[in-house]
Symmetry: C2
Subunit: 410 residues, 2 copies
């Protein structure tokens, strides 16, 4: 299917031309001119394919291939059309292109399905322009709150509401849930990690999206002169922090996959070469597919941190400021995708997602599944983001298999 | 000697009124109006005491009590008159006040000495206004270089040279060494550390000023997504840094006094909660009274750092950007001061200085010694800097004893 590879790469490039950033990659923010042009381009493509096309109130774009037998049952597939700043060509838009081409190829090969198949280009997921993320998917399921965006502005001072209305969209009626005809959602996405590449797999079948907890750990020691304070007189916040960080990461490695723990940020006070630091703050990001493991590992590190603080004679506070539960994918659809991958001879791996996706917003409301394709060097949110055309095609084949099982079978 | 306590406190307060900062403490920067007022005040006090007073070319102020028998031999004592921003009432100015009052009391009690005794109020030590430190003492010994200050400016853009000339001073003739009549220098200073307080001593007799080495240690790992990168796939710069810092400080504690090692500054890249850090930089400040120990401990930590980097599979570079040798005080004067303290029943401790002082500039050129008084909680460079009046008086008594031995004895 060399045509499929060409089709995917070509459509990613055309879609990516809307928002091409002179500084590299794509910058296509919610309700920008480039964003609107991208949605209009997709609308046109969908119309040309003969789909029933419409925007919802806030600007999610839908294109439906009608089912013959169950007109009130829809299988939805797609992803988000917005990007971070200087994004690559895959994050988000690949899921839309893949769903569109899957429908196109299925239609060509099998004609009309029993159930509707519908591609969705969701308005927003990244939270890159306004301080709000998952605006698209939250409006699909009806959990977006008007009050959360009513008073927010972008970095240039443009209000969310003005930008939305400028594009011709407006708030959706509140408390209206997800459309009743939607029976399943399947999202394809690039992995944004290096597991598939390392294991030489073309496709990932996602069983779960990790839960995550984020913490600030703040250590209060005593600032002192670096020359006149003997080692035995010190309450060195950085010395305590270094032991904590070292032991936290060591524990995380010992705990084993799929647990990951990251100390990504450190702030030292006063942070000068010749003062024993009086304060140190570090962040902890802990993720796992099981809530119980998140709870368990939180206990492990909390005890470690408190013990080390006591040994060093420093104060410590641990503040958990994010606590998101893991989101399991629908077991039946996952099984069905695995079987379809086996049938089609695809080189796949069953795995979890360590990153958040639109699927986690839809999963509590409708049976949901995800497919991954590899990311070279695990790179994402960067113009260097890349997936081999061969793997792109394998991914779309897996998606076609899934949609075929869901929409063409009784 | 309740009068002595009162005299010291009173004179510190009056001197400290020149440069009193509404934001707290004293801000008295080189060649400022406040600085000039302080020097003029001291000049007046010295004149009233009957000393021979003069400024040198750059603005160091001297007041001499003439000796009867050796008019070509001078015992010098004093410290710097400038302060850091929001300084306390002790750092620097205490050494001037102590020398002035020691001369006053010695003159009252013993009359004219055999050798000249001279108080010096040095222009600058802190490097707080311009990016240059020890301007005063370097001009006393003749090692200040015109070219080093000719093109420097303060934060407001005022040039060093303009500020100097505005106060009525100018460059000293270059390559003119220290005055030949100066036979000894004794500086009194507050400790700026917590050792004397912890050991309940009133006076410190300094044997040596530490040498110091400063380093940047830079670790290059690989930045990765905090969710999608399993622990086994990471090259986490902060994980490696945490182990290095923990082991460096642990080694320093094991090495024992007087070694001190401080990791005061940490910079993480990109320093965000949800990215495995690709880079980490930390500083190391190592001090000891023996050069051989500095070299030895540098070897110890260099090997540690390289070994840990190898284990973590990260790159590391170690850059030593400061390497100052220790400066021993004059053994004969130190011994003489100890004997004098014993004779006068003073509660003293023989110790080193972990901080730099004017004495380290003078010591290579003239026999030099230092005396410390306690700093409450070890605090310095802060309006909360404090020394008990009783300890101030004990310190001045120790200085009087030293000057008596040096100037009144054959």
């Amino acid at each position: 299917m060399a045509d499929l590879e060409k089709d995917i790469v070509g459509m990613l490039e055309t879609l990516g031309s809307h928002g091409k950033d002179p500084a590299g990659g794509i910058s296509r923010f919610l309700y920008s001119k480039e964003w609107l042009a991208a949605q209009k381009y997709l609308e046109q493509e969908m119309k040309e394919l003969g789909l029933d096309v419409h925007f919802d109130e806030i600007g999610n774009l839908y294109g439906q291939l009608k089912g013959s037998k169950y007109p009130n049952e829809t299988i939805l597939s797609g992803s988000h059309v917005d990007t971070v700043g200087n994004a690559g060509y895959y994050d988000g838009q690949l899921g839309i292109v893949a769903a569109f081409l899957a429908i196109k190829y299925l239609k060509e090969k099998y004609g009309q399905p029993l159930r509707n198949i519908e591609v969705i280009s969701m308005a927003e997921e990244e939270g890159s322009r306004f301080p709000y993320a998952f605006w698209g998917s939250k409006n699909v399921v009806g959990t977006a709150k008007r009050e959360d965006v009513e008073n927010i502005k972008d970095a240039d001072g443009v209000s969310f509401v003005d930008a939305m209305r400028e594009c011709g969209f407006d708030f959706r009626e509140e408390n209206k849930g997800i459309r009743e005809d939607i029976k399943a959602f399947v999202e394809m996405h690039n992995e944004q990690g290096g597991v598939l590449e390392a294991e030489k797999k073309s496709v990932g079948v996602v069983t779960s999206i990790v839960g995550q907890r984020r913490f600030n750990v703040e250590i209060g020691g005593q600032a002192n002169h670096a020359g006149t304070t003997p080692m035995g007189y010190r309450k060195d916040a950085v010395f305590a922090a270094s032991q904590m960080i070292y032991e936290i990461i060591t524990e995380a490695k010992k705990y084993g996959d799929p647990l990951v723990t990251t100390v990504g940020q450190i702030e030292v006070t006063p942070n000068v070469v010749n003062v024993v630091p009086g304060k140190a703050l570090f962040t902890m990001d802990i993720r796992h597919t099981e809530k119980s493991a998140l709870v368990d590992f939180t206990d492990v590190v909390t005890e470690k941190i408190n013990t080390i603080a006591k040994e060093h004679g420093v104060d410590v506070s641990i503040d958990m400021w994010m606590d998101e539960d893991p989101v399991p994918m629908d077991e039946k659809i996952v099984k069905l995708i695995e079987e379809s991958c086996d049938k089609n001879g695809l080189n796949y791996k069953v795995m979890h997602s360590g990153a958040g996706h639109d699927s986690q917003v839809l999963a509590p409301h409708v049976p949901t599944a995800m497919l991954f394709v590899p990311s070279r060097d695990g790179i994402s949110h960067n113009p260097a983001e890349y997936t081999e055309p061969h793997d792109l095609a394998e991914g779309v084949k897996a998606l076609m298999g899934a949609l075929y099982e869901l929409a063409y079978k009784e």
